[in-house]
């Protein structure tokens, strides 16, 4: 039995969806993009031109839900399938778009560089339990107008895994799409085998900005999967109750589904988000708060109820260091997310409210993810009945360390984390240098970086990616890209 965690009754789910539909119909969404407004208008939505509000009828919502696919598949740069976002499948991806990284040497949070990003991509390429990369942080040594496309460029050069990404401007979409077409060979091939997911964020409460709503249209045109990242802040820009927050999340996310499906029926969409409670003591949005995680798990249930693949920013931490709080918040989140069957779990590596990535935390979180995959395998009988023979063998041999039964099932029944997780006795721990978690994680980072194998993306494609990036950089007056080492 696949273990599951559920928070909402069937009746509550229906009621939340019904309330959200009512909000969409009666209050609507403010949409600051003329193309999106005319698309909605063409399909019969009532538009108030002055307030830029679009009112979504239940009929429109239901039509969109009917055409939205229930599964989204992703493929790596070589075209191999890596993801099936559907049902209760679970995949982890590093938390995305941090402004900073935690520097292991100084233990201070600082702005990242190209060199940091290359190391990150090389590291993620080897983390077994993290199936996708994300454009996890923003290199500060390039022109800000290319800081979004440049991340994707580096990711595609150094790591074969598919990428969760997004644009910061409408303009960047083109080159970011061109990168992907270059990797796949044609726009058609890209549509058949999606390589990236674009995060598109409505603005709470009940609003779409120009860039992100335009992204929805652009992604739909090329069949690039989008994940809607609605971010209601419970108690601040959303009702303080968790149900109220989920209603708002549902309304904002459904509006995205409608826009995408009207733009191109059947285009791949993911029911995602990054809601949080608002901590009225610190004026912050704690991702490690249990209520934040509860809202994530609850809207995931709504997404499943609507038959859509799901995503959430969960299994990350608000701590500023790789400490017990970081481990606690990440592990609680990962556990709840895995048990809830959130299809794409964005979180590993992230600290400080989604603003700081850490390579050391990534290798620690990779172990958490490994444990989660074991957890969701559940407990199943494996040649356990009848059991008397096994116990006779145990008493006869004194142990079962090398019995055939143990040898057959040891490595599937038990998950073996790397030496980042200390499981030695104290004497051995001391003998091996009494290393702290940070030191062990850093050693693992160094070890993995030394074992990095270059991407198998063909050289001519890499060359084309470089050409596209250089052309884009020149548009903004940057004639040379930073040294990648």
């Amino acid at each position: 039995m696949r273990p599951r965690f559920e928070l909402l009754t069937e009746q509550l789910k229906k009621q939340i969806v019904s309330e959200a539909c009512q909000v969409l119909a009666e209050i609507g969404m403010e949409i600051n993009n003329p193309n999106v407004l005319s698309l909605l208008s063409e399909h019969g939505a009532r538009i108030d031109k002055e307030t830029k509000r679009a009112y979504f009828s239940n009929e429109l919502v239901n039509k969109a839900l009917r055409s939205a696919p229930s599964s989204v598949k992703l493929y790596d740069v070589l075209g191999q399938q890596t993801h099936d976002l559907s049902g209760y499948n679970v995949h982890f991806t590093p938390g995305s778009a941090a402004l900073n990284i935690l520097d292991h040497k100084t233990n201070h949070i600082r702005k990242p560089s190209t060199e940091d990003y290359v190391q990150y991509a090389k590291l993620v390429s080897q983390l077994k339990h993290i199936a996708a990369q994300s454009t996890a942080f923003i290199p500060s040594d390039v022109h800000e107008n290319i800081s979004d496309s440049y991340r994707l460029f580096l990711s595609l050069l150094y790591c074969e895994k598919p990428v969760v990404t997004g644009t910061f401007t409408v303009d960047s979409f083109n080159v970011m799409k061109d990168f992907q077409v270059a990797v796949r060979g044609s726009a058609r091939a890209l549509r058949e085998k999606p390589l990236t997911i674009f995060s598109c964020c409505p603005t709470s409460p009940l609003k779409w900005g120009d860039v992100t709503s335009q992204n929805l249209l652009d992604c739909a045109k090329y069949g690039i999967p989008v994940e809607y990242i609605s971010m209601p802040l419970s108690g601040f820009m959303a009702p303080v109750t968790l149900v109220g927050t989920v209603i708002q999340h549902t309304a904002e996310t459904l509006s995205g589904v409608v826009i995408s499906q009207l733009a191109s029926p059947g285009t791949p969409v993911i029911y995602g988000g990054s809601p949080a409670i608002f901590d009225v003591r610190y004026e912050t949005t704690p991702m490690g708060a249990i209520e934040t995680m509860m809202v994530d798990c609850a809207y995931n249930e709504i997404g499943k109820h609507l038959g859509l693949p799901t995503q959430a920013y969960i299994s990350l931490s608000d701590s500023k260091h790789l400490d017990a709080q970081a481990g606690m918040e990440s592990a609680i989140g990962a556990t709840l997310a895995a048990l809830s069957g959130i299809n794409s779990i964005s979180g590993p590596g992230m600290l400080d409210f989604e603003s700081c990535q850490s390579l050391e935390k990534l290798v620690l979180d990779n172990e958490i993810c490994g444990m989660m995959f074991r957890l969701i395998q559940g407990i199943e009988p494996r040649e356990d009945f009848p059991s008397v023979g096994l116990f006779k063998e145990l008493l006869n041999d004194g142990h079962l360390l090398i019995s055939n039964h143990s040898r057959r099932y040891l490595k599937t029944e038990h998950f073996f984390p790397s030496s980042v997780i200390c499981r030695s006795n104290n004497a051995r721990f001391i003998e091996e240098g009494s290393l702290t978690l940070g030191q062990r994680a850093h050693a693992e980072v160094e070890s993995l970086l030394s074992k990095y194998q270059p991407s198998r993306l063909p050289a001519e494609v890499q060359k084309e990616l470089c050409r596209l990036m250089e052309t884009e950089a020149r548009r903004y007056g940057q004639n040379q890209l930073p040294n990648r080492g």
């Binding site: 004194g398 360390l401 090398i402 143990s406 040891l410 790397s418 030496s419 006795n425 004497a427 051995r428």
Partner: protein, 212 residues
């Protein structure tokens, strides 16, 4: 592949039959028994020991290899005795008086045998006199004691004291281990070595025997 390398590889894979066959074939090919032991069996055990240390293989793999080692030793042992090849060493092991927990001690026995040592297992709840007498009678260089309880670990001190009384410090070395035992405790009671787990007991005994 060279035959002795084949034996070493088969041993690392825990393939008893292949190790046994390979050893017999090596004997038939008139390879000196000492060379078969060193470059085939012990080389294989050393290799798997190192891989175990690097977490590339796990305890069951080492135990399987140790079992294969014992199988390979069957045809080899009489020839080593005939050639007067000294064994790596002899170790007397047991849990201390009053302690019936022998899981760790048994693991130590398997690992030591696998590493090529002769092991005399005195079993559970062994009196201090019995440890010393057995070591003297068996001509063993090492006594290995294990305890799981804080209430029984004090018996270890009685063994080191008895050894002192009988003036055997130069002849017999004592290694201790078990959950409550620490390096400091070992030093305090006058033991020569402390092993924190079964694999470590091999390293410890090797060091005391001058093989490390």
């Amino acid at each position: 592949m060279e035959l002795l390398t084949q034996i070493s590889e088969a041993l690392q894979q825990g393939n008893e039959e292949l190790v046994h066959q390979g050893t017999q074939q090596a004997i038939a090919e008139k390879i000196p028994p000492k060379k078969i032991l060193d470059d085939g069996l012990i080389a294989g055990m050393n290799a798997i020991g190192e891989r175990f240390g690097r977490h590339e293989v796990f305890l069951p793999d080492v135990l399987m290899a140790a079992k294969a080692m014992v199988k390979g030793m069957e045809p080899l042992k009489p020839l080593l005795i005939r050639d007067d090849v000294p064994s790596l060493g002899k170790v007397v092991i047991g849990t201390v008086q009053g302690d019936l927990h022998d899981i760790g001690k048994n693991l130590v026995g398997i690992m030591l045998k696998g590493a090529g040592f002769e092991v005399v297992d005195l079993g559970k709840s062994v009196s201090p006199e019995k440890f010393i007498d057995a070591a003297v009678n068996e001509n063993a260089e090492i006594i290995g004691m294990s305890a799981l309880l804080t209430t029984t670990m004090s018996v270890m001190k009685k063994v080191t004291e008895l050894r002192k009384q009988k003036n055997l410090q130069g002849k017999i070395k004592i290694v201790v281990g078990g959950a409550p035992v620490t390096k400091e405790f070992a030093t305090e009671i006058g033991a020569d070595g402390y092993a924190f787990d079964a694999a470590n007991s091999v390293a410890c005994v090797k060091q005391l025997m001058g093989h490390a």
